[in-house]
C-alpha cells in the first residue's frame, strides 16, 4: 500500500508537558483517516506539526514524500488545511477568499477562473459567493473554508474538527461533502474529531489518541469487532426460567437482567440471534422481542482508555 503521510516517533514537548508522544502513523493514499480523541489529547498539535505550523521536538514525518522540517514549502504546496478555529476575513467575499488563496498557492492564472467555478459549484454558496463573509451562516463559513483548502488541488486535506459547533443538519451535509470529495477529487483526508459517530461514518481508518499517545489504529469495523461483545436484548414470557437455562449455553459470555429485559453478551451476535430464539422455543418459552446491538466506537474508546470520550483523557 502507498502511504501519503508517515510519522516516525514524532513528539512535541512543552517544558514538562508532552502533547504528542512518539507517534507513529502510516496514512494510506486516498483514504479518509481519522484521529479520534478527547479534547486535549494532542490531535491539533499532531496536525499542526504535519502542516508545518509547529516544529516537532523529536522524531520526523513526511507528507507527500517531503520532510515537514526540511521541506516545509513543498509540504505546504501539497496540502490544504481547514483549521479548527475560523480563519476568514469578515470584510472579504467568499469569491475573494478563494481568489486570494489561489494566488497565494500559485494556481496558474489561466486555470484560476475554472477552479474557482468548480469549487463554488461544489460548496454551493450560490449568490452568497459575492457577499461579505460576515453575512454567512456557520455551515457556509465551514464549506467556504473546505472549498478554499481544495482550490489548489492538494494531495492531502487536513480537517481539524470540521463539524465542531455545527448543528446536526449542517454536520450531515459536511459529512456527505467530505465523502464526495474523497471519492471524486482523489484527495487524502486527514481529520481529527471527538465525535464517535463522525469517525465511524466517514473514516476508512481511525487512530485513537489519548494523552499524546496513539492507543490503537484500525478500521472502525475491525476496532469494534475486536471488542467481541455484541449485546442481545431479549424479552420473554418466562424470564426466570430462561435465565436459568441459558446460563448453561457456552456461547454466552455474560447474562443479566435489566428492567425485566435480559441482556446477553456474545461474540458475533448476528449468527446467534436465530439460535437463541430456537433455544427458547425448544424450552417452551415465548420470545416477545429480540434486539441485537453492535459495539460502537465509544465502547472501543472506553475499553482502551477506561473512560468515555466526553470525560476526557
Amino acid at each position: 500500500m502507498e502511504f501519503i503521510i508517515e510519522t516516525h516517533n514524532i513528539t512535541k514537548k512543552y517544558d514538562d508537558f508532552t502533547a504528542v508522544d512518539s507517534v507513529n502513523l502510516k496514512i494510506p493514499k486516498n483514504s479518509v483517516y481519522g484521529v479520534l480523541g478527547p479534547n486535549g489529547a494532542g490531535k491539533t498539535t499532531l496536525i499542526s506539526m504535519l502542516c508545518t505550523i509547529l516544529h516537532p521536538t523529536g522524531g520526523s514525518a513526511t507528507v507527500n514524500g517531503y520532510d515537514i522540517v526540511k521541506n516545509p514549502k513543498e509540504v505546504r504546496e501539497s496540502i490544504g488545511i481547514v483549521f479548527q478555529s475560523r480563519a476568514l476575513d469578515d470584510i472579504l467575499t467568499g469569491r475573494e477568499h478563494l481568489e486570494m488563496h489561489a494566488a497565494l498557492y500559485g494556481v496558474p492564472k489561466d486555470l484560476r477562473e475554472k477552479r474557482l467555478e468548480e469549487v463554488l459549484d461544489l460548496i454551493a454558496l450560490g449568490p452568497k459567493a459575492d457577499e461579505f463573509v460576515k453575512t454567512y451562516s456557520g455551515g457556509m463559513k465551514r464549506r467556504l473554508e473546505i472549498g478554499r483548502g481544495l482550490i489548489h488541488h492538494p494531495k492531502v486535506l487536513f480537517l481539524d474538527e470540521p463539524t465542531l459547533g455545527l448543528d446536526p443538519q449542517t454536520r450531515e451535509s459536511i459529512w456527505e461533502y467530505i465523502q464526495k470529495l474523497n471519492q471524486e477529487e482523489n484527495v487524502t483526508v486527514l481529520m481529527t474529531t471527538h465525535y464517535m459517530e463522525e469517525a465511524d461514518k466517514l473514516c476508512d481508518e481511525v487512530a485513537i489518541i489519548n494523552r499524546g499517545n496513539i492507543i490503537t489504529a484500525d478500521s472502525p469495523s475491525n476496532l469494534k469487532r475486536e471488542l467481541k461483545s455484541d449485546t442481545i436484548t431479549i424479552r420473554v414470557d418466562k424470564l426466570e426460567e430462561f435465565m436459568e437455562k441459558a446460563r448453561t449455553l457456552d456461547y454466552i459470555k455474560e447474562i443479566f437482567e435489566v428492567d425485566s429485559e435480559i441482556k446477553i453478551m456474545v461474540e458475533r451476535g448476528d449468527y446467534l440471534v436465530p439460535e437463541i430464539v430456537n433455544f427458547a422455543n425448544k424450552n417452551d418459552i415465548f420470545v416477545n422481542s429480540i434486539e441485537l446491538e453492535h459495539p460502537n466506537l465509544e465502547d472501543v474508546f472506553l475499553k482502551y482508555t477506561g473512560r468515555t470520550i466526553s470525560e476526557g483523557g
Binding site: 516544529h55 504546496e77 480563519a87 476575513d89 470584510i91 486570494m100 494566488a103 497565494l104 498557492y105 500559485g106
Partner: protein, 254 residues
C-alpha cells in the same frame, strides 16, 4: 514570480479592507482637518507666529500630514494582532510563500492606504492658504510613501511581539504619541531645551515632517537630502527588521 504575486495579493487585501471600512476613510480625513482648522486656528490666534508665510496653520500642515500617516501606518501594522486573533493570519502564514514577502505585501498595502490619505490632505491645502502645485505634490507623495513604509514596518514589528490588543493603550502612550509630539509637527524644533532637542532628533518622524516642510513650505531645519536619507534608512531598517522577525517568530505567530 510566485512571490511577487503573493506580495500583490496581500497588498490587494489591505487596500480592499481600507476601501470597505468607509468610516475609516472618513475619520482619516476629518481628524486632521479638526487639528488644522480648530487647533491651528485657535493656537494660531493666541500666538504670534512669524516663521512661515500663512502663519501657524500653514506651519502645522506638513506636521498634520505626518501625524495622519503615523496613526494609519502604525495601527494598521499593529492590526496584524487582530488578524491573528481571528485566525486569518494562520491562513496566510501557512501558504507556500516566504515570510518577507508577507511583510512586504503588508507594508506596501498599508503605505498605499496612508499615501491615499496623505494625498487627500495635500489636495485640501488651500484650506490653510497653501497653493498646491505639481512641484509640491509629487515630491511630497514620495516622502509620504517613505515615511509610511517605515512606520508600517514599525507597526508590524510591534505586532510580531504582541499577542493581544490589550497592549493597544501601551502602544498609543509609549510609542505613537511620543513619536507624534516629538516630531515637531506642532512646534519648531529649534531653540528647545537640550534634553528635548535630543529626543526630537531621535524621532524618525522629525525628519519626515522636516522633509515635508522643505517641500511644501520651502523652509526646513535640515537640508532636504539629509531628511530623505534618514527617512529612507528608517524605512529600510524597519521593513527588513520586521521581515526578519516574522521569519524568526513564525511559530509563535501561528
Amino acid at each position: 514570480m510566485a512571490e511577487l504575486e503573493g506580495i500583490y495579493t496581500i497588498w490587494l487585501r489591505e487596500n480592499k479592507r481600507f476601501v470597505r471600512y468607509r468610516s475609516r476613510i472618513l475619520t482619516s480625513v476629518v481628524t486632521p482637518l479638526l487639528w488644522l482648522l480648530i487647533f491651528g486656528t485657535g493656537l494660531g490666534s493666541a500666538i504670534r507666529f512669524g516663521g512661515v508665510a500663512g502663519g501657524y496653520k500653514a506651519f502645522i500642515f506638513p506636521g498634520i500630514i505626518g501625524q495622519t500617516v503615523l496613526f494609519t501606518a502604525v495601527f494598521s501594522g499593529v492590526s496584524v494582532i487582530i488578524d491573528r486573533q481571528y485566525g486569518f493570519l494562520k491562513e496566510i502564514l501557512v501558504a507556500p510563500i516566504s515570510r518577507p514577502s508577507i511583510v512586504f505585501g503588508k507594508a506596501l498595502g498599508i503605505s498605499t492606504t496612508a499615501l491615499i490619505q496623505g494625498l487627500i490632505l495635500l489636495l485640501l491645502s488651500f484650506l490653510v492658504g497653501i497653493q498646491m502645485t505639481p512641484e509640491i505634490f509629487f515630491p511630497s507623495a514620495v516622502v509620504i510613501l517613505l515615511i509610511s513604509l517605515g512606520l508600517s514596518g514599525l507597526g508590524l514589528l510591534i505586532a510580531s511581539f504582541t499577542d493581544s490588543m490589550e497592549g493597544f493603550n501601551l502602544i498609543l502612550s509609549f510609542i505613537v504619541l511620543p513619536i507624534f509630539l516629538l516630531s515637531g509637527a506642532l512646534f519648531p524644533v529649534t531653540n528647545l531645551p537640550s534634553w528635548l532637542q535630543v529626543a526630537v532628533y531621535l524621532d524618525p518622524l522629525t525628519y519626515g515632517v522636516d522633509a515635508l516642510r522643505a517641500i511644501i513650505l520651502k523652509t526646513s531645519v535640515l537640508p532636504l537630502y539629509v531628511d530623505v536619507a534618514v527617512v529612507t534608512l528608517f524605512a529600510l531598517v524597519m521593513v527588513l527588521l520586521s521581515a526578519l522577525m516574522f521569519s524568526r517568530r513564525e511559530q509563535e505567530l501561528m
